[in-house]
Amino acid sequence: MRIAILALQGAFIEHQKMLAQLGVESFEVRQAADWELPKDALIIPGGESTTMLKLLRELDLLQPIKQAIEDGLPVFGTCAGLILLAKHVEGDDKQRISTMDTTVCRNAYGRQLGSFFVESNLKGIDHAVPMTFIRAPYIDKVGSEVEILAEVNGTSLPPNKVINW
């Protein structure tokens, strides 16, 4: 298995390290030529979604990645990755990768002082999982075909929101 990691900006090295620990091969995608390499899946890391979106466009990566996902390439997004993958972003109709039938709110918990850490359950894992939210978005609505794996309902959180873990 060989995983492509979008490495335009943000916390991509953490994904590389984790995959290496698991013995999975990965490579960085920094420009269109990298995208041509054979891959079994894509990871879009956390970072600044506005920065990534701009670079995706200008480096001619947006359409090829969108196409590959529509053709069935598995993709995993965290934080900025979630925003890029969501079909709708509240108050903002910019065209992104926009392949996942969800509506997300950016910076939904406010500024850095609103960032937080929780342990919560995740479907398929039998113990609580540590989850960190840094200036995080949350998912407001999901389409009927979206399966929710975890929710965080802490008192400081809006109720019944799907997390972007």
Binding site: Q31, G47, F117
Partner: protein
């Protein structure tokens, strides 16, 4: 809880990696920076080149001006306070700034003590010109480090010197035997635990950006190839002929810092770079503030 906050604050710096943080003085400049792909902006009344030119005491910016910039963009907003001026830092925390830069660019408020940054909920970035300074700032609670360089000069030599110094000192620590670390910590005037962390991991426990004198895409690529995890650009953008174009080019240069062909294209036709001041012509060495 404290531990937790430190970790969250270090994590925000992780999210900024591979990005460019730009100095802006107005909401309009902030929007230009965001549109160009900045991963954060530093809100300040005067960019370092103008602080240098104006002389006098330089202080924290007007909170109203900072708030205007917070409203203008969705990316993180940073602001500077004077070294040791914890009251300015409290004010910046009160307006929910995303990151405070305890910065040698402003006039120091205390020539002995830095701010006890562990007491704050908001994160701090601090400048350092060698590993000793970096580890002392981290001990005080900084969750991000940047080279001091020499702000407002457009001359990259000092940022290069500081980053090379840090990297070389990190390499020296990693090659030591364990029993040598105690003496190293003593000589470096840095906490043993942090010295040990660097020995074991071959890197700082927090993100390390380059700052101070970066003016071109090539400067940014140079700093990234030397091991910086991202770049601050202060005067280099809004003191140049075509800020939007230069800003976008530097953002791309940081992502593809190893691709000389792309760097060549990015460097084309950027208009005039900031004029710059050579190392020998500098009257005031800001990097000597706050050790």
């Amino acid at each position: 809880m404290k531990e937790n906050r430190q970790e969250l604050n270090r994590n925000l710096a992780q999210m900024l990696k591979g990005g460019v943080i730009m100095d802006v003085t107005t909401p309009e400049q902030a929007r230009i920076a965001e549109a160009a792909g900045a991963c954060a902006v530093m809100a300040l009344e005067r960019i370092p080149a103008d602080i240098r030119a104006a002389g006098g005491v330089s202080r924290m910016s007007d909170p109203k001006m900072i708030k205007g910039i917070q409203e203008a963009v969705s990316i993180p907003v940073m602001a500077k306070c004077r070294i040791g001026h914890f009251a300015e830092a409290q004010i910046l925390q009160a307006i929910e700034i995303d990151y405070i830069d305890e910065s040698e660019v402003l006039s120091p408020a205390d020539d002995v003590y830095h701010i006890d940054k562990n007491k704050f909920e908001v994160p701090f970035v601090c400048g350092a010109k060698n590993l000793n300074e970096a580890l002392r700032r981290i001990a005080e609670g900084a969750t991000m480090i940047r080279t001091k360089g020499e702000p407002g000069t457009g001359d990259v030599i000092q940022a290069v010197r500081h980053l090379r110094m840090m990297q070389s000192e990190i390499r020296r620590l990693t090659s030591m035997s364990e029993d040598e670390l105690y003496e190293a910590a003593k000589a470096m005037q840095a906490p043993y635990e942090l010295v040990r962390y660097v020995h074991e991991n071959g890197k700082l426990p927090v993100v390390n950006f380059a700052a101070g004198g970066v003016a071109t895409p090539a400067d940014a690529a140079l700093m990234m190839q030397l091991g910086a995890e991202g770049v601050f650009v202060g005067s280099g953008i809004f003191k140049s002929g075509d800020p939007a174009k230069r800003a976008a080019a530097i953002v791309k240069a940081v992502t593809n810092y190893n691709d000389a062909k792309m760097l060549a294209e990015l460097s084309e036709d950027l208009g005039e770079a900031m004029v710059g001041i050579n190392e020998q012509e500098i009257a005031l060495l800001m990097a000597e503030r706050g050790k």
